[in-house]
């Protein structure tokens, strides 16, 4: 039955329904034919009994007298009757089995042995219209006044009964075939229609293309049946999934705005502070234009301040470049990150331990954008976790699996929800941000790994980014 398994349910059930109808039709036909056979047997037995009894009454004295002619004349006249046509041959013998007369004297002559005729004859009770023989043979005793005075052998023509049976069989086959065919088609279509919602549901579920689609109301069966409930439940699930995705999108958006706001405030702080110094320097130059050393010092101050502003601006631009993946990671990227994180570190008066191996970074060949995003996200998280006057550190070096980025911080351990987002693929619990899940997704996209460790009240997140060559091998 393994061949049956791949057939769709929408075909399988109608086929089963049609098969059941064929089975029922076959059984019904068998019953009809059996009844017909019983009726025919009863009919032929009754006829034979009447034939034998009638002849016994008429022929008894004649057989006793061995009156060949009268026996023949009686048989001949009986054969002219209506039912006589069914009697192909009737022969009457005396008690010794010597034929007195037969309806066909040329075939069964006077004085021949009736045993030669009754070779395959059966008794009255065993007479049955069975098999393909169009002629039945009967051998019965001829009783007169309570004693057997002879024997009667009769051949019955049952070809018409066989034809009747064959016709009945033919009509049954034709009728059943038409009825079953019609019912099977109707059943097939009805089952298909009933199963349409299931088919539709299966199609909607398999053809989601990344996003499940609702079943149109027109395809939902009317009423409150199981299939209608199934379709409605499915639509409710689809709506729930869509609502959840929308909520996550909004959450990510919000977090992005939060991060952006936090960064903006830091940048403003970073720019505002130098700006005050720069304006003081310009005031100083205006006040003391004739003092070259003061002008030079002020100019140097201006130069440093402007360079700092330029660096901050460039780092911000690089961070928000539209297509950052196209650029290969370099040591400058970490300088940018340091520049970007610095305002937050300063704000929280934290101790930043920074250790980047430029050679390892250059040798990694990884994409700049995702790595910058990962490191910045983790560092911002680390700053938040370390709190006021905490310690935050970054170690970048070459490891066994590629470039290793380790972000460490003191402070409270990461909550379970945050760890789930960072280390697992399970659904996002409501309320949390998407930054950590973004880290995980970016690392996975680069075929990298993310590990978490907590030792001596220090949280260490280690992200290993393989070189592009290793990543391709791993993917293959």
């Amino acid at each position: 039955m393994t061949w049956f398994a791949p057939i769709p349910l929408s075909i399988k059930l109608p086929l089963l329904a049609a098969a059941m109808m064929v089975l029922v039709g076959t059984v019904a036909s068998q019953q009809v034919l059996r009844s017909l056979a019983q009726v025919q047997d009863a009919r032929i037995q009754e006829l034979a009994r009447m034939h034998v009894e009638g002849l016994s009454v008429a022929l008894g004295p004649l057989v006793l007298r061995h009156d060949n002619w009268e026996v023949y004349d009686t048989l001949d006249r009986a054969a002219q009757g209506g039912e006589g046509r069914r009697m192909v041959l009737t022969a009457v013998a005396d008690v010794r089995g010597r034929v007195l007369a037969a309806t066909d004297p040329r075939r069964v002559p006077i004085d021949s042995d009736i045993a030669a005729l009754a070779g395959d004859a059966v008794s009255l009770d065993d007479l049955t219209v069975d098999g393909a023989a169009p002629v039945l043979s009967l051998l019965a005793p001829l009783s007169y006044q309570g004693r057997a005075v002879g024997q009667i052998a009769t051949e019955f023509d049952v070809s018409d009964l066989l034809i009747e049976r064959r016709q009945a069989l033919l009509y049954l086959i034709m009728g059943n075939a038409m009825a079953i065919g019609l019912l099977a088609v109707v059943g097939f279509l009805a089952m298909r229609k009933m199963l349409h919602p299931v088919t539709s549901l299966a199609r909607q579920m398999t053809e989601t293309q990344g996003k499940p689609r609702s079943i149109p109301d027109s395809d939902i069966p009317r009423g409150d049946g199981e299939l209608a409930q199934l379709a409605r439940t499915y639509n409710a699930m689809v709506d729930a999934v869509a609502a959840k995705a929308e909520a996550e999108r909004r959450l990510a958006e919000r977090e992005r705005f939060v991060a952006l706001g936090r960064l903006s405030s830091s940048l403003a702080h970073e720019i505002n502070n130098p700006l005050g110094g720069l304006l003081n320097a310009t005031d100083t130059i205006r006040s003391y234009p004739d003092r070259p050393e003061v002008v030079r010092q002020s100019a140097d101050l201006l130069d440093r301040g402007l360079r700092h502003l330029r660096d901050v601006t460039r780092a911000t631009l690089d961070q928000n470049r539209v297509d950052p993946e196209t650029r290969v990671l370099g040591p400058d990227d970490f300088e940018d990150i340091k520049l970007l994180i610095q305002p937050e570190v300063s704000r929280l008066a934290q101790d930043l331990a920074w250790s980047v191996d430029p050679a390892a970074v250059s040798a990694s060949g990884g994409p700049a954008g995702p790595v910058r995003q990962i490191v910045l996200n983790l560092l911002l998280n680390a700053c938040a976790a370390a709190g006021k006057e905490g310690r935050v550190g970054l170690i970048v070096r070459s490891g066994a699996g590629g470039l290793t980025l380790q972000i460490a911080n003191t402070g409270a351990a990461m909550p379970r929800a945050a760890l789930d987002r960072l280390l697992g693929d399970g659904p996002l619990s409501p309320g949390g941000g998407v930054g950590l899940r973004l880290v995980r997704d970016l690392a996975r996209k680069m075929v990298g790994t993310v590990a978490h460790a907590r030792e001596n009240d220090v949280t260490r997140i280690t992200v290993t980014v393989p070189t592009p060559g290793e990543a391709r091998d791993a993917q293959e």
Partner: protein
């Protein structure tokens, strides 16, 4: 005057009633029939009865029995007034019976006995039928038994040993049927009956073939007891038979019987049968 007329009328009416009573009181004439002719046709029997009844001026009851012996016995014991017998039983009881009339067939009061076989039987004469199953009409029939039995005797054979089995059908038509249907191979039959059947049932006789014909012998006669031959009813029957051809009803009956009429007969007409009877005596 009125009284005289009344008395005359009364006497006349009474006399008329007496005469009518005498005519109506005449006993029914009982005529026995043997299967010497087409006795299976009710129309033929009725036609004959009506014609004779009209001719005799009295009712006739036609009495049929299965065998010649039964009819002859009824006649001898006076249960019948007359009977259409065969020449053979007539001669067997010639001391008690006398001839009333004899039919005329094809211009004469004689007929033949036929020996018939199936149409496709190769037999050419009686000798070819040794060991066959043979059908006789009646043991008291001249054409249906006596002729073949005496022919065998003349050949030095016996019916019982020459044929493997001999059956009696008690009817000439039955002999023809038995041969035609193949129940028996051969049969002895009245030539007049076979010829009559050839006209009305040609399909039946076509399945048989005549392989031997006897000499012309006296046609089966109508007989009565010798002691009642002069009685009025028998005389009336004789008159009716002899004048049968003179009435339309009589001619219709004769036509049905395929006979020309009836004539007076003498015992000499049956000398041929008497010769055969002597041959049969041991």
């Amino acid at each position: 005057m009125a009284q005289t007329l009344s008395r005359r009328m009364f006497v006349g009416t009474a006399l008329a009633a007496m005469v009518a009573d005498r005519a109506g009181a005449q006993p029914v004439f009982r005529l026995g029939l043997t299967p010497v002719f087409l006795d299976n046709d009710a129309g033929v029997i009725d036609g004959l009865r009506h014609a004779l009844s009209r001719g005799m001026g009295r009712d006739i009851e036609l009495v049929q029995r299965r065998t010649y012996q039964e009819v002859t016995g009824l006649l001898l014991e006076r249960s019948l007034d007359a009977a259409w017998l065969c020449g053979y039983p007539y001669l067997q009881h010639a001391d008690l019976l006398d001839l009333v009339a004899v039919p005329v067939w094809r211009g004469g009061p004689r007929y033949q006995s036929y020996l018939i076989v199936g149409a496709d039987d190769p037999a050419g004469d009686l000798a070819d039928l040794r060991g066959a199953i043979h059908a006789f009409s009646d043991p008291d029939s001249n054409s249906g038994y006596l002729v073949t039995a005496t022919n065998l005797r003349r050949m030095g054979a016996q019916v019982e040993s020459f044929f493997s089995r001999a059956i009696f059908t008690y009817g000439h038509r039955n002999v023809v049927r038995a041969v035609a249907d193949g129940l028996v191979r051969s049969g002895s039959v009245d030539g007049y009956v076979w010829e009559a059947l050839a006209v009305i049932e040609p399909d039946l006789t076509a399945r048989t073939r005549v392989i031997a014909r006897s000499e012309w012998l006296g046609f089966p006669p109508v007989c009565a007891r010798r002691d009642s031959l002069a009685s009025e009813p028998v005389r009336a029957l004789q008159t009716a038979l002899l004048s049968l051809a003179e009435t339309a009803e009589g001619r219709q009956a004769l036509m049905s019987l395929q006979l020309d009429g009836f004539q007076r007969a003498t015992p000499a007409l049956f000398d041929g049968i008497a010769d055969r009877m002597r041959d049969l005596d041991p």
